[in-house]
Symmetry: C2
Subunit: 171 residues, 2 copies
């Protein structure tokens, strides 16, 4: 399926905006390169999240480490790079928890959430110059109780799917 | 907290784009009025989802009934209106499952997901002229098995939180 007409109305540094005509209606669509997020757990059962300034929300949020894909980069490569940069973590057994659209009504962002189990320190974190974030470690057994603090969609999806998988594979 | 400078670079029908300067970095931020979604369950244990054409994804997705807030409208009022329009359902006991940001890195969309339990038919659905959607009824017991079909973030959050709440309140 493809639109009858399409015009770019804004092209920025990370985002773009396209207006598409489909028959007799128009859609405004945000162009986005796609992103990844990681549920990273070490061998002792600590999960690493990040507390991050989110200008769009005028506050700080507790989120999974995450990042935007570079052109041509496979999602798992983005995820490993971001986990090293944001949290100083490497290694572990990787699996895909879910691929999904973050806001399919108006945006082309496709998100993949991974689980990385058994991660290890790789050295100091080195976030981008424009990122203000701080790693926060939480015990796996505490996650369930702390879900009410989470106000970010990808983080809710990732933690809920990970907890569900952990529970269902227990003997 | 507020930006040092802010300029509107696009103003459309539903969306806008603002570029904000915070110290020495800039953020592109999508302006959005906020939205709601509903986990609607009837007295016989059927959950109503919608299968919907999503132009941005070039395909159809299976999602919770949902919609965008009108100016000045309370989230629960938007939710009741959308459930009637998209699915022809009314009534029920309403509760909030979670409020969250859909994509806090670049967008001002705040989402509230509700549970509506014991909903009843209100008459034929009357979706907007530019919406192509079809209600899909699924047994509550089937939801868990069908989560792999869901590729929409708010739907994953809503169903996972609802299933978790249902399970934890069982005797």
């Amino acid at each position: 399926m493809k639109p009858d007409e399409s015009r770019v109305v804004y092209q920025g540094r990370l985002l773009g905006m396209t207006v598409e005509r489909w028959g007799d209606h128009e859609r405004e669509i945000v162009e986005h390169p796609g992103a990844v997020a990681i549920v990273a757990v070490d061998a002792d059962g600590w999960v690493t999240l990040v507390r991050q300034v989110r200008e769009a929300t005028r506050g700080e949020l507790l989120e999974l480490p995450a990042g935007t894909r570079e052109p041509g980069e496979e999602p798992v490569a983005t995820a490993k790079r971001e986990l090293r940069e944001e949290c100083g973590l490497t290694g572990g057994e990787w699996s895909e928890l879910a691929p999904f659209w973050t806001t399919p009504g108006f945006c082309r962002e496709r998100m993949t959430v991974f689980a990385a189990e058994g991660v290890e320190p790789s050295g100091p974190a080195s976030p981008e110059a424009d990122e203000q974030l701080e790693p926060v470690r939480i015990r796996l057994e505490e996650l369930e109780r702390r879900l009410g603090e989470i106000e970010d969609a990808k983080t809710l999806v990732g933690l809920l799917l990970y907890l569900r998988r952990s529970t269902s594979t227990e003997p």
